[in-house]
Amino acid sequence: MLMYNVNRTENGLCFEFSSSYIYVDKTVENCVSFVREKCLDISEFDLSVTLHEVLSNAVRHGNKDNPEKKVYCNLYWKDDLLRIEVRDEGKGLPSGDSLKRESGTLEPHGMGMSIIEGFDFECSYVSEKNIVLLKKKVKVHPN
């Protein structure tokens, strides 16, 4: 059975959902609403595309589009740092594999991480926990 849960914490949102792209869209919308509500000085476009990349990657490559497998996402903002953690129930990346791919070639694959880094997110992979961690310095919008 498909499920979608979101919990609000003091500084962010925690999501748990079945592998479905509809839920990816819903999670992106919820996260954008959160940063808008907090008046954070971050491009909604950059955040939306970044979340689409990392969450879709978890559904497709991590969970192999298996709706019985879940995606877990935490987004929180504290001390001017926005953190996004995404975990799936897949096997994870082989040891030594890099998240980064080359951009600029006309190959229709492998652009996601280049896009995320192009938006100035610091991206890392915690292999023992199978977590993709994104960090970006974000202050409250001055206006």
Binding site: F45, G104, I115
Partner: protein, 92 residues
């Protein structure tokens, strides 16, 4: 004579919707389109899956005419620059 087709998606082109655009573009290619214009006036977001659809289309028709994107927002132009796809597509 080159046949020009304009496609105007009225949705964001992400993994959940990119197949719709892919099917439409493939249909036009099968029907003989040699110059394809994608009008982005109603597209706010495109992700790497959507970009992949554009790349595949471009690679199919580029010998006749590069894929042309029009009414592209500044945000999407920035994304095309990050991925260096602006060097391949005709972006207006």
């Amino acid at each position: 004579m080159s046949q020009t087709i304009t496609v105007q998606p009225d949705y964001n082109i992400t993994v959940s919707s990119s197949d719709v655009l892919k099917d439409e573009l493939l249909r036009h290619i099968r029907e003989g389109a040699e110059h394809i214009v994608v009008d982005f006036s109603q597209v706010k977001i495109i992700d790497s899956t959507g970009l992949s659809v554009l790349i595949s289309t471009h690679n199919t028709i580029k010998d006749k005419h590069p894929l042309e994107l029009v009414n592209v927002s500044d945000d999407i132009k920035r994304l095309l620059a990050i991925t260096r796809l602006d060097k391949h597509f005709q972006v207006n």
